[in-house]
């Protein structure tokens, strides 16, 4: 009798050890269009104390998904970038201006995406790229503001990201933005919802592990806007924040809210050194 029990115990232990599936990030290099090598793995910035290395979400995705992002023709996100290019050249509003009237070609915006969110001295606030776009639309073009995480806006952000691909994320965390950055950090480490999960519980302590059927990444936002295979459209970073917080079964903040701006500032700075990838391709 004892023998039988120990045999069952042994089988159970075996089954348990087999059930622990690791989902380590792959060892791969992202080369865009066979010419531009992007940084997807680098030493963590000094202010990210709990991580040695910061890893792009690209390393946590499957072979086909990674390949899709490596070629602009295969990347469905680029269709939306093309739509934004049309908007870039289209005059709107009372001033009869388009984006191109002031900024010329969209390529001249290279280097803008990596430093946002950042402090705007004239307005005395931390601004995300979306807020800056809407400021341009309302005060310079005399046009209506776009919905914060709506289609037009996320396409435009994808265009602005696409021209900065390969440049390192470089979000400032000191000076006037520091208090908002601290607020973002607080949000990152605060457990919310019925499941009582903070961002850190999943993305800091458990990246590389499975969350049900999916790989948990570090939750870096260098690849936003993200084309998701599950909803076949571009997703804004604040929409992703909202989805994550909803999944903890909490009441979420709204896209464009001061809380999410603070969180974007903090999470953005955690990816300092990684290449801008947007529009990236994810599950």
């Amino acid at each position: 009798m004892m023998k039988t029990i120990s045999a069952i115990g042994g089988a159970a232990a075996l089954a348990l050890s087999a059930a622990v599936v690791t989902a380590d990030p792959v060892d791969d290099t992202l080369i865009l269009n066979e010419e531009l090598e992007l940084v997807t793995r680098t030493t963590a910035p000094a202010h990210v104390e709990e991580l040695d290395e910061v890893l792009s979400g690209w390393l946590f995705r499957g072979t086909e998904t990674r390949a899709m992002q490596a070629d602009d023709f295969d990347n469905p996100g680029m269709i939306f970038v093309e739509k934004a290019l049309e908007a870039w050249d289209t005059a709107e509003g009372s001033e009869g201006k388009s984006c191109a009237s002031c900024h010329d070609a969209a390529e001249t915006m290279a280097g803008v995406r990596p430093v946002y969110p950042k402090w705007n001295e004239a307005a005395g606030e931390v601004r995300t790229l979306e807020m800056q776009v809407n400021d341009c639309r309302t005060s310079r073009m005399g046009a209506e503001a776009w919905k914060y995480a709506g289609g037009d806006m996320v396409n435009m952000i994808a265009l602005l990201s696409s021209v900065s691909r390969g440049l390192p994320v470089n979000v400032a965390i000191d000076g006037p933005v520091q208090s908002m950055w601290e607020q973002g950090k607080e949000l990152y480490y605060t457990r919310t919802g019925q499941l009582e999960l903070s961002c850190a519980n999943c993305h800091e302590e458990n990246n590389g592990n499975m969350i049900r059927a999916d790989h948990l990444s570090q939750g870096q936002i260098n690849g936003f806007p993200v084309y998701r295979l599950k909803n076949t459209k571009l997703n804004a970073v604040h929409s992703r924040f909202k989805g994550c917080i909803r999944d903890t079964r909490a009441e979420t903040y709204s896209p464009g809210s001061p809380e999410f701006v603070a969180l974007e500032l903090y999470v953005g700075s955690r990816g300092n050194g990684l290449s801008v990838e947007g529009p990236s391709v994810r599950n």
């Binding site: 023709f73 295969d74 469905p76 269709i79 093309e82 739509k83 076949t232």
Partner: protein, 109 residues
């Protein structure tokens, strides 16, 4: 008339005679299946690309019949043998009668 339809094609600029080249094509199209209903419960009429063809110097390479279950922005990737220099001609046929065309020249070298 479906809006925002734009064909895209990627063909290598050159190939050696007899080479097999990979061709990628995509047409942005909403591919409305005809199965969905709007907020008022009315059926949204079907509007899809129903046929796609590729010809090389007048000779057919691929001819695809497409059905409503095919998702938005249909993408086709296929291979073709290039015996000589010439033009690939791509044609998409829309339910509404529109025909979208694109062509790419390939050189031997």
């Amino acid at each position: 008339m479906a809006s925002g339809v734009k064909p895209r094609v990627k063909v290598p600029k050159t190939a050696a005679a007899g080479d097999v080249v990979t061709i990628k094509t995509l047409i942005s199209h909403k591919m409305e299946s005809g199965q969905r209903k709007d907020d008022d419960g009315n059926i949204i009429p079907r509007s899809i690309i129903n046929r796609f063809t590729c010809d090389f110097n007048g000779k057919n390479v691929i001819d695809v019949t497409m059905e409503p279950a095919i998702s938005t922005n249909p993408y086709f990737e296929f291979e073709a043998i290039v015996p000589e220099a010439g033009d690939f001609k791509f044609t998409w046929y829309d339910d509404d009668g529109s025909v979208y065309e694109e062509s790419k020249t390939i050189k031997i070298g």
